[in-house]
Symmetry: C2
């Protein structure tokens, strides 16, 4: 997903203006998602809120994209993950994570998981833990110049991950031919809650590009 090296030739000011329009909508929608599971207002208030949301839906539905954001950005030679369900600024499913990555493949992120990510009572859903770890592993291999799709992903759950403020750290473990092994860990207030290892396969386009390097 992150292996497209295509530059986004849209001027930064245009991208920022676009973000300034869509980001606040997604932020309001994230609050709505949280309140769908955390609100305790009476039935009439829920119905009135529903009508408000339906009004927003009616507005936004007037013009629908023919391609997803991922597809359009690919077509346009861009790399702008605004629709991504973990880091996408336009995606209310995403907390969203802001991942810092380094050329050696280290990556880290501090973020918050609220009630909408709950699996066991008070804990983050184990599958959400997997989703987030997979995303950050992808940043590691991308930052190290070894991007690719996940081939295998192994998760070991050490303890429940409490809802709240969390951190993920990720790094490259080793490389061999077209494969890259990356590892990551989820860290809560009581230490490491889960560990992940991902094997990423270099896509053909990247292999050919790398082989053309002097």
């Amino acid at each position: 997903m992150n292996w497209s090296f295509a530059a986004d030739e849209t001027p930064a000011s245009v991208i920022e203006a676009e973000a300034a329009v869509w980001r606040p909508l997604a932020e309001a929608a994230r609050e709505l998602v949280d309140l769908c599971v955390m609100s305790d207002v009476d039935d009439d208030e829920v119905r009135a809120a529903q009508a408000d949301v339906e009004a927003a839906v009616a507005r936004l539905r007037k013009v629908r994209r023919t391609q997803t954001l991922g597809q359009e950005h690919l077509t346009a030679g861009r790399r702008r993950p605004w629709g991504n369900p973990v880091i996408g600024l336009r995606n209310p499913i995403a907390p969203p994570l802001e991942v810092r990555s380094h050329p050696d493949g280290r990556a880290e992120t501090d973020f918050h998981c609220g009630a909408a990510y709950e699996g066991p009572p008070g804990l983050v859903h184990g599958g959400v833990v997997a989703l987030i770890l997979d995303q950050v592993l992808g940043h590691s291999v991308g930052a190290a110049g070894r991007p690719g799709m996940t081939g295998t992903l192994t998760l070991v759950y050490r303890q429940g991950t409490p809802l709240g403020d969390l951190r993920v750290e990720s790094w490259i473990d080793r490389e061999d031919g077209i494969k890259t092994w990356a590892k990551a860990r989820m860290i809560g207030p009581d230490g490491v809650t889960a560990e992940a290892e991902g094997v990423f396969i270099l896509p053909r386009a990247v292999r050919e590009r790398l082989s053309r390097r002097p």
Copy 2:
């Protein structure tokens, strides 16, 4: 997460009335989530939609639960996963899946993943694939009377999972003491896209209950 055998003593009619209030709100919010990534209306329309969503947020924020749905249902001796991010009827993050399970531990579900679940262009995010497979594996072990939290989860990605209509099938592979191995596969229009194996650990409360059986 599904190991609580506590019965929900709320009358079915009360549960259905509550669902009838919250389900339509979550459905509208799901449409909103989709449109946050798929709408292409002009800036003024986006801002007007944002105001609508903020009005809904202001209503729902008037009374906030002190416990998450998972915690409250546990306290109340209930088992009603309405807040779950994969199957929760009140959670707009959830597609939501409707999982059918059988006493032998088989489980299956047919569902739709739209643009909000996109990772690589046109494909479901690999971490979302993991999230969904983990959830369905949990239904298998629960249905087989061997519930528990995920200990380890291993995913093998065979091909990209296209956005759209998908199916997951899950079953028990073997049991040994407190451990249960369950397997699952994600199936798209071109066959199996990913396979998962989860090891689930019987929680102490369930072990004690099983040991008291004649």
